[in-house]
Amino acid sequence: MEQFGDLFTRSASHLEVLLQGAGVTVMITLGSFVMAVTIGLVLAVARTWKIRPLNALIAIYVEVFRGLPTLTLLFICYFGLTYVGIKLNPLPAAIIGLGLSGGAYCTEIFRSGISALHHGQREAAAAIGMTPMRAMRFVILPQALRITLPPLGNYAIGLIKDTAVASAVAAPEILFRARNLSTETFDTALIYLLVAVLYLVMTFPLARWVDHLEKKRKAWQ
């Protein structure tokens, strides 16, 4: 009994610290998600304008940022930019690093959503006098976004887990706090068990929601 009581107090005191870390994890996730989705949406739409030099630049961006390990990108944002006089704090560095690599993924996700639509959808919009911009806004994107929700959800789940790399640049998220805690208390097993539970609490509901969306989409088709 006493052992379990002890476990409970230890967990409670660890959780107090880890939950603060979870707050930072959520912040990094939300910040980089918004950045990635914005980049992805803008670039995927820009690609449809078929301006050759622009498309080449977008392709280079996607290939480079999709091909780099996120950790490398984070180090470049955090340490590398100091050489050109930009000193980022750990949190913004993590958000920008994850946002840039996520932007490359999201560009591809939205591109596939847009190109999944039958060309007749765009033609029908053109036939009623819509400019390509209007057609994009009222006909193409509303349908493309519906198609891309499940892959976007999967990306978000991956992103929550990927925020762990931010501990490498000392952003005070869950894993960073866990490492500090375990060096202070040597209660390593319990701490990382709690870390695992915290990540699952965040990813599980999101995963259920993605499943739900996919079922709904099948019914819609």
């Binding site: 007749g120 029908a124 036939a127 006098g129 819509m130 400019t131 390509p132 009222f138 006909v139 349908q143």
Partner: protein, 274 residues
């Protein structure tokens, strides 16, 4: 009644009213290549106000491409299209023609309703929203005005009772009638029909042809690509037979369909009769 009277006048070529002789659509030396394939070779046609022109011919003859070139869904390789004297999709600068802006072309397309073989309704919008989208988001009417107009247009194609449904819940014939209402809602000067019944099950063809016939009787101008030869004869003022990217024969339905003079026309019509 009025509509029937007009058709009668057109058929007999009385040309009493000035407006009935007025040219609405002019196609001048139209050419279209897809790579090395010449799909249209020098097509010239004229469609008068309130006239109905049927394009017939074997598949691959270029009928659909011609129709799609009229509203520049395909950009012509050569030649020009005029609607009501307005040069479509291009502007004349000195002696040269340059492509006009997307915004200008979009405005010009408002005057040309287009009905697709495969309907292409927007699945994320209800039937009424599909029809209201043009007046609402393109022509800038208020949402209420646009929805009222959409309802009136759906009334015309006998689909008002389905206005709250999504397109996927409708039969092909019903979807096509909504497609026609969508074209009507932009209040076009001319309606272009691209094989409107070719994607339909045989038992659904009649309801769509019926609607087109009603519109024809209202004195609307239209160009209709079709394989329904009997329908073309009943509705059209002029029948144009195309083959190999050329206009082979054109004239009154009685001449082209019942007494074709060109050998290719005779063969094509013979094949249809089996």
């Amino acid at each position: 009644m009025n509509g029937n009277g007009q058709i009668h006048v057109n058929r007999c070529d009385f040309g009493v009213k000035m407006t009935e002789n007025k040219e609405l659509l002019r196609i001048e030396g139209l050419r279209k290549d897809f790579g090395t394939l010449q799909v249209l070779k020098d097509i010239s046609l004229s469609v008068g106000q309130s006239k109905k022109v049927a394009l017939i011919g074997p598949s691959g003859s270029g009928k659909t491409t011609l129709l799609r070139c009229i509203n520049h869904l395909e950009s012509p390789t050569g030649g020009h299209i005029y609607l009501d004297g307005d040069l479509i999709g291009e502007e004349k600068r000195g002696v040269r023609y340059v492509r006009s802006s997307a915004a200008r072309l979009a405005r010009q397309r408002l005057d040309m309703g287009f009905v697709f073989q495969n309907f292409y309704l927007w699945p994320h919008l209800t039937v009424q929203e599909n029809v209201a989208l043009c007046p609402w988001k393109v022509q800038g009417k208020s949402q209420k005005e646009a929805m009222d107009l959409a309802e009136a247009m759906l009334e015309k194609v006998h689909m008002a009772h389905k206005r709250k449904e999504y397109p996927e819940r409708l039969s092909g014939g019903q979807q096509q009638r909504v497609g026609i209402a969508r074209a009507l809602a932009q209040q076009p000067k001319i309606i272009l029909f691209d094989e409107p019944t070719s994607a339909l099950d045989p038992e659904l063809v009649g309801e769509v042809l019926g609607v087109i016939q009603e519109l024809a009787a209202e004195g609307r101008s239209m160009v209709l690509v079709t394989h329904e030869i009997r329908f073309a004869r009943d509705v059209a003022d002029e029948v144009v037979f195309m083959d190999g990217g050329l206009v082979v024969e054109k004239g009154a339905p009685a001449d082209v369909i019942d007494n074709p003079s060109n050998e290719r026309t005779i063969r094509f019509l013979g094949q249809l009769r089996g």
